[in-house]
Each structure stands twice: as C-alpha cells, then as structure tokens.
Amino acid sequence: MTEQNDEQDDPLVVVDGLRTYYGSERLLGGEPVKAVDGVSFEIARGETFGIVGESGCGKTTLGRSILRLEDADSGTVEFDGTDLLSLGRRDLKAWRRNAQMVYQNPTSSINERMTVGRIVREPLDIHDWGMPHDRRNRVSELLDRVGLQPEHYHRYPHQFSGGQRQRIGIARALALEPDFIVLDEPVSALDVSVQAKILNLLLDLQDEYDLTYLLIAHDLSVVRHICDRVGVMYLGKLMEVGPTEQLFRSPSNPYTRALLSAIPQPDPDAGADRITLRGTPPSPRNPPTGCVFSTRCPFKIRREEHESLTTEQWDSIEEFRDVLREREKLRTTPLQRVKARLGREPPVTPIEEVVSELFELSTYPESVQETVDQTATLVVEGEFTAARELLEETFSTVCEHERPDQHQVADGQASRCHRHLSEYEEPREFLSE
C-alpha cells in the first residue's frame, strides 16, 4: 500500500490551517458555524487517509472543502504542488479531472433520469475526453471494471440495488482517471454483506490505478480495514493523527480513547474499561474556549487542590458546571431575558434540588462545598453569569484557557492535548491510576 518514507518526501495533498465557516455571510451578525476550524494534515501518494469522528464534527465539510465544493475561509490546500484555493474557474475545471468524490447515499448521488451509460459518460463529455466512440468504449470498460455488465449501459438506476448503484458512482468517479478520490462514507448506506464487497473493490482499484483515497467514515472497523493513516476529528478540529494500527492500539488523545472504547469487543471482559462521555458535543457555532473537548473530557487536568477528589466527585462538579452553562444559555437572547423578567421562564428544576442531587452522596472538602453553596445562592438571586464565573474561577485549568498544540507522541502520531506537556500526566498514565 504505502511506504512511510515517501510520505515525508512528496505528499499528494497538503492541507494547512484549513477553516470553513458556515453562515458567516449573514447580514445580521450571529456567530458562524465553525465546521472546519484550522485543520492541517498531509496525504501521501497511494495512501488511504481516514477521517473519523461523530456526525456533525465537520468531516464531510473537510472533504468537500478540499475538493473546492465548499468555499474555505482561510488556510491552504496544496495538491501536487498547486494551491487549489487560488485556482481560477478554468484551471479549477481542468483540475477537477484529478480529483473525484464518491458519495454516501447511492440513491441520491446519481441522477435517476439518465441511463447508467450517460451517467458514467458525463464527466468524459464535459472534459472532451477522446472521440465519442472512445467514450462509449471507455464506459463499457469502466462498467466491467467495477463489476457491472456492459449491457447495463441502457438501464436506469431504478433497476439497480444500492450496492450496484454505488458501483455506478465509483465508475463515474473513475471515468477521468483521477489521482485522488474522496470517499464520503462510501458504504455506510449499504447492507453489511455488500459493504465488504465495495470496500474490496475500492482496494483493488487503488492497487490497479495507484489511487490516493481520503476516506470519511464514522465506522471505525471500516477505517481500520482499509486506511493507512487516520485522523480523528472533533468539533472541527483534528484531535489526533497517526498510522492506523498504531493509533488503534495505543491512542494517546483522550477523545480518541473515548471513541475507540466505543468499539464493541467480542470478549465481554475486555470491554470493561469503556469510557462513556457526558452529554453531547457543544454547538460548533460556539465552541468552548481552550480545548474543544474540555467540556466532556474525562481526562481533564485539575488544579492541585482538587487532585484528591474522587472521579465521581469530580464528575458531579463538572455536571454542575454543565447545568449552569445551560441555565445561562437560556437567558442569552433579549426575548428570553424579558421572559425571565416577567417570570415566564421555561420550567427548570430548582437549583437546591440540583445541588442536593449532585453533592449529597459524598462529603467534599470545605472549600469546594463553600463554592457550591455560594453558586447556588447566586443562582437563586438570578445572577447566572456571576455564578458561572465563580465556578470557573475555582475549578478551571489550562484545558479551558488555552488551545492545546499538536504534540508528536510517537513516530508519525500526533495529538492535541495539554496532557502531553511534560508538567502533566500523560492520558495513558492518568487512566491507569
């Protein structure tokens, strides 16, 4: 598949500090959705690079931005030495021969009003590929190559199954002999029995035509099956990058650990150390300051005075902070504030109940208990912002203040986490404690 050494020498795709924001062009302010927020990585020739992450983490937008199907806001994408983001219309059209995309949904990615032959032929027609006769032959050859019959030329997509439709989509992507193909969840809409066949077809094609793949997936087993290297995305950021096997065997970023621990284990005892994350990812419109994962991270760095707290106690504090953040958010718009003033708030659990539910089970150090009580009083008085700030003052650490840098953790493996700094415990060590 790939040799590690030529990855350093001459990568095919170099992405550097890519940012794609949505909705920033709106007239009336509002924070843009930071779908891709400063992502950098390289893809070597002939390699399969995987991007994994939860849905909504921006991985599809990343793929589309690389192909210039979305307009990136800043950063650069270099393809074989050319800067894609500065290409003019005509150069862009010419460049499109080199890079294609295979879509997730085989029913909506091909135009059902065209025959299969015309679908596969269209890219050839657009780029004036050879003579009409050659194009027809090329289509027959492609159909044969992806496992369809040349006589399917005159059939309509209605007459095919999902797997066969995906083969049509692959044939179309291959038509112009591209070097690079973005596979956007190519098998996630297919039956499990068909998935393996399509993946193997993709691997065969890669060998035959020296293709470079960017595979976007949320299915970790698919990634492990065909990717050479993987990037893990969370909330528009690349949390960790590394060679697949290495990353799967020894993940260093807390988020990667949490993600990988979600893979079902065939051995029930082996799955005992599963990490369950609290809550849902924050809105990409308003990501946390500092590390984007800090609101959910079970490996978060604590202040020295809080080191002695048990995991359960720390979780209670974190949850209390979550509750306050939510409460404050309920009062951000003027309309919500007016409603609160009029006493017409949405019904919420009284803060005393929340406190007793979270903190009654165990005894906390006096300073912690005091802060919690003080916060509760502020909430009762309606001072949500002050309450949130008080908790922040008491409990926040570097995780919430500073963006973590990318740290080289092993050969070819890099991760964004403050714990890789020498003054803190590595996530691995923290877990074993």
């Binding site: 294609q100 879509y103 909506s108 990615s109 091909i110 065209m114 269209e122 030329y153 005159h154």
Partner: protein, 562 residues
C-alpha cells in the same frame, strides 16, 4: 450489448419502421390539402406579424428620444441573449481562440456578445443589401406549390361532404351530400373528422409500441411507469378526451362548422345562399346577412332558433343562432382556435420564464433568488384583473394590439402577469432538486451551471411543468373569456367564447337560453378537462402522490411543491 445509434438499429430491421411510415404517409395524404393550406396560412400570418413588428420598431425608432433608446436597448439585449444561447449550446468560442487568459464565465459572456454582434451586423447588412427581398421571393416560391397543394380535395373538407342545401316541397334535399338532410350530412362530417383524429392517435400509439418492441435498447424507462399509471386514471382519461375534443375543434374548425367563418362571421353580406321560396314556388338566392336578419334569437318564440333545429332557409343550427342570426356552433369552433392559440402562447411564454427563473433562483440562491422573489411577489401582489384591464386599455392603440386581433397582446399580458404563479410552484421543488447529491456530484466533475440546470435539474421539473401548465391553461382560457365578457381583449368580430356568453346575457331566462348557456358549459368543461389532465399527470409523474382520492388534501399540498 453495444450502444448503436437509432439510425443503425432501423437499418438493421427496417420493416416496422417503413410500414409505420407508409401508414403515416397515407394519413397525411388524405388531408394533404388541408395541411398545405394550413402551412400557407401560418406562413402568411407570420409574414404579416413580422411586417407589423418591423413596422412598429422602425416607427418607434423614428420617434426618437427615450423610445428609440429603449428599442435599441431591447434589440441589443435580445441579440446578446441569442448570442449567449448560441455560445452555450454549440460550445463554439471565438474569444478562446484569441486569448487564453480570460476566466471561463466572462469568456462565455464575451463569446455571447461577439456572436450577438455578428448576428446584428449580419442582419443589418442583409437589410441594406436587400436580402429581405430575396428571402420574400424565396418564401413565395415555396408558397406557390404549397398553395397549389392546398387546392387538393381532402376527406374531411366541406366540399367532400357538403351539408348546405335546400329542400324542395317533395321532401328531397338538393346540394347536400348524397341528398342527405343537412343535419345528417353535418353529423357525418363531424364523425369523419373525429375518426380521422382517432386514426392518427392509434397510429402514433402503434408507432410508440413498435419503437418500444423493435428499436428501443433500454428494456425499461421511467416513462413506462408513467404511462402505466395513466392507464388506470379514469378522471385523467376523461380530461384527456375533453382536451382532445377541444384540440380537434380548434384544428378542424373550418370543416366542423356548419358554414364557413367568412360567411357566418366576417362577411355575411358578401355571400349568398340558395333556398326554396314557397311563395314564389322556386329556388331563389338571398344574401346571408339578409337571411340572418330573419333567424335571430331574441328571446321569444317568434324570433328564436334553438339548438338542433332548422331555420326557414333550411340551414341547420346544432347549437341554435346568435342574437344577430348567425350560427352559434360555427362561432364556437372558430372561437376554440382563438382560445387555444392565446392559451398556448401565454402559457408557453410564462412556462419558459417560470422555469428559467426557478432554475436560476434555486441554483444560485442568494441575491438572484431575492431579486426574483421580490419581482414575482410584486407582480402577484397587484390585483391581476385590474392589471389586465389596465394594460389592455393602455396598449390598445399600439401595433402590438393589431396582431391577431389583440390576441397576441392579450397572451403576452397574461404571460407577463402569470409567470410568477408558475415560478412560485416550481421554486420549491427546484430548490429541493438543487440540494440533491447528484447536482453536487456534477459540480465535482466540472459540469457548468447551465449544464447542471439543463441535465440534472430540468428533467425533474418537466413533470411539474406539464402539470402546472395544463392547470394554468384552463385559467387562461377562463381569463380570456372573462375579459371578452367584459367587452375587453379580443375585438369583435373575431369569435371568442366569452363574447358569446356576454351576448346572450339578457336572454338567459328566455327561449334563447342557448346563447349564454352552451358556451358557458363549454368553457367550464374545457377548463375542467385541462385540470383533470394536470391532476392525472401529477399522479403519474409523482408516484408518491398515488394516494389520489383517498388523501386529496395531502396530494394537493405535494403538488404545491416544497
């Protein structure tokens, strides 16, 4: 199975094709005279229209000032658009040959301008040299043989099966087909016309089936399902029959009428008829106009010729007579032509506008969409009837109003005020189509915006286009009738259904009820027919709305898009 062009497939198996062609030739041959004279008529009308338009333009230029500027601007924009269309469709380019440094879009527009300019210069040059004369001579040399062919007898003409004649006291009929009574002769002719139309339909259907069996390479296409679904759509079939009858009426108006339009409507005092005068005891001549004075329908028994009756001059009136004594049926069949032409013209223009605008606003969104929304909503915000009346009155004295007795003007006004309704209906579905992955995929391999709109969005709009066009066509016929009823729009004497309703208004409750009622019922039926066809097409094209009767409201809302 290799792909082979249709021509090759036909060459390999020519028999069904030749047989079908033979049949088509026979069918054309039977009516060659009518087709030829129809072509001549259309050609003459086009020539007259062109003359009026060019006259109007040169008049406006002669006036000078703002009008001339506007006209020049109009000519310029039209030429540029035509040039752009040529550049886009043929993919020809001049600019690229000169320089490579211009980006794609400006290059295309530039090419459009260049082609437009070339067209304009060429046209101006042709005008100067007198190429128009050459063209006119060429046209007349084509017209001559066509005119000669137009003289050929045809199966459905009134000469072949005449129905006008007189009865002598011994009860025999003279001048009619085989001595049949005028009523029977007329019925026979109507029957023959419809049989001829039916023969064509059957032959076309046979041709389609043969194509499917012998020549088509795909063993199934989505269209097959559409046809299959139409097979069981009774309401739609009723609509199709009504629409077909209406179309036949418009196409064969001259032979369906009991008398000619000239004689009945336009020049009754230039034609004479023969009848047997009982007082004199001999066959005498009378001017049609004079005869009409005695056959008027004025509301009381003594002066009324009702449906399915003869008048004292032995003329048969299937629908009775009008207030001026002329034949209502002849008036109506010729009126069908007027309604149809106005309907097709205005719906065609507004459908093209609506489709193009919907594609543009869905593909580009943003500013383009906003501008169109504001424009469309503004037009829709003005009461349409008021706008129609206003524009008809304002433009009544211009050269536009002289085309087709004001019909073209009316059609254009209806199109200009009607496109937002179509566009609104198309916009929702088009926005949805523009979101589909295949549009994105087309962008990813470099398809141009116009290519995406044409290949990947338009095919999904065609269904909506047919549906809403047929629905709107009914509305246009109704609007034209309504305007005529108000005394606006189509000028007398050109027959228009609405005017017939207007003429008979005072007599609705009298013996002459037929004058208003019959045209009224026909308008209703035709509009209903077009709506039924629209419904059927919607159900056939969009299988998800199959619910049909069971869940009508849901079907409605889906048809409304979004």
């Amino acid at each position: 199975m290799e792909y082979r062009p249709l021509r090759e497939r036909v060459r390999e198996r020519p028999r069904p094709f030749l047989l079908w062609l033979l049949g088509a030739f026979v069918l054309v041959g039977i009516e060659l005279g009518r087709i030829a004279s129809g072509l001549v008529e259309i050609g003459d009308a086009t020539a007259a229209a062109l003359e009026t338009v060019s006259g109007g333009i040169s008049d406006a230029l002669a006036v000078g000032g703002a009008t001339a500027v506007a006209v020049w601007l109009g000519i310029g924009v039209t030429l540029a658009l035509v040039g752009l269309a040529i550049a886009t469709w043929t993919r020809a380019t001049l600019v690229l040959r000169v320089t490579e440094s211009i980006p794609l879009r400006p290059q295309q527009s530039l090419d459009g301008l260049v082609f437009g300019l070339a067209l304009g210069v060429g046209g101006w040059f042709a005008l100067q040299v007198g190429a128009v004369d050459v063209l006119a001579r060429l046209a007349s040399s084509v017209r001559f043989p066509l005119g000669w062919l137009g003289e050929l007898p045809t199966l459905t003409s009134r000469e072949t099966i005449p129905n006008q004649g007189y009865q002598t006291p011994d009860g025999t009929w003279h001048g009619t087909f085989l001595g049949l009574s005028p009523a029977l002769a007329w019925t026979l002719r109507v029957l023959v016309v419809h049989l001829y139309v039916a023969a064509w339909l059957i032959w076309l259907w046979t041709g389609y089936l043969w194509y499917r069996n012998y020549y088509r390479q795909a063993d199934w296409t989505p269209r097959d399902d559409v046809i299959q679904r139409l097979r069981y759509h009774r309401w739609g079939q009723f609509g199709m029959v009504v629409v077909l009858l209406f179309l036949t009426m418009a196409a064969f108006a001259p032979s369906l009428g009991t008398t000619t339009a000239e004689q009945n409507i336009y020049a009754p005092f230039s034609h004479t008829i023969e009848y047997y005068d009982e007082e004199l005891g001999e066959v005498t001549d009378i001017l049609v106009g004079n005869a009409n004075l005695n056959t008027r329908s004025q509301g009381y028994a003594a002066e009324n010729v009702g449906p399915m009756s003869y008048d004292q001059y032995d003329r048969f009136h299937p629908f009775g007579t009008l207030t001026d004594g002329s034949d209502l049926f002849t008036f109506l069949v010729h009126g069908a032509r007027v309604s149809l032409i106005i309907g097709l013209l205005s719906v065609g223009v507004s459908a093209i506008l609506g489709t193009v605008f919907a594609l543009v606003s869905a593909y580009y969104r943003g500013l383009a969409d906003l501008v169109l929304v504001v424009t469309g909503d503004t037009i829709m915000g003005v009461p349409r009837l008021l706008l129609l009346i206003l524009l008809t009155v304002i433009l009544a004295d211009t050269w536009l109003a002289s085309l087709y007795d004001g019909g073209v003007l009316l059609a254009l006004i209806l199109a200009a005020t009607g496109w937002p309704f179509l566009w609104r209906s198309f916009r929702g579905p088009t926005l949805q189509i523009a979101e589909e992955d295949w549009v994105d995929a087309a962008r990813s391999y470099g398809q141009s915006p116009s290519g995406i709109m044409r290949l990947h969005m338009l095919p999904y709009l065609v269904g909506y286009l047919l549906i809403y066009s047929s629905l709107v066509l009914g509305g246009v016929i109704l609007a034209v009738a309504g305007l005529s009823f108000l005394g606006l729009g189509i000028t007398a004497p050109t027959p228009e259904w609405g005017r017939a309703v207007d003429l008979g208004r005072e007599y609705v409750a009298t013996n002459s009820w037929h004058i208003s009622l019959i045209p009224g019922i026909m308008v209703t039926l035709v509009v209903m027919g077009f709506n039924a066809v629209g419904d059927a097409l919607r159900d056939a094209v969009d299988p998800q709305s199959d619910a049909g009767v069971a869940n009508a409201s849901e079907t409605e809302s889906r048809g409304g898009g979004v």
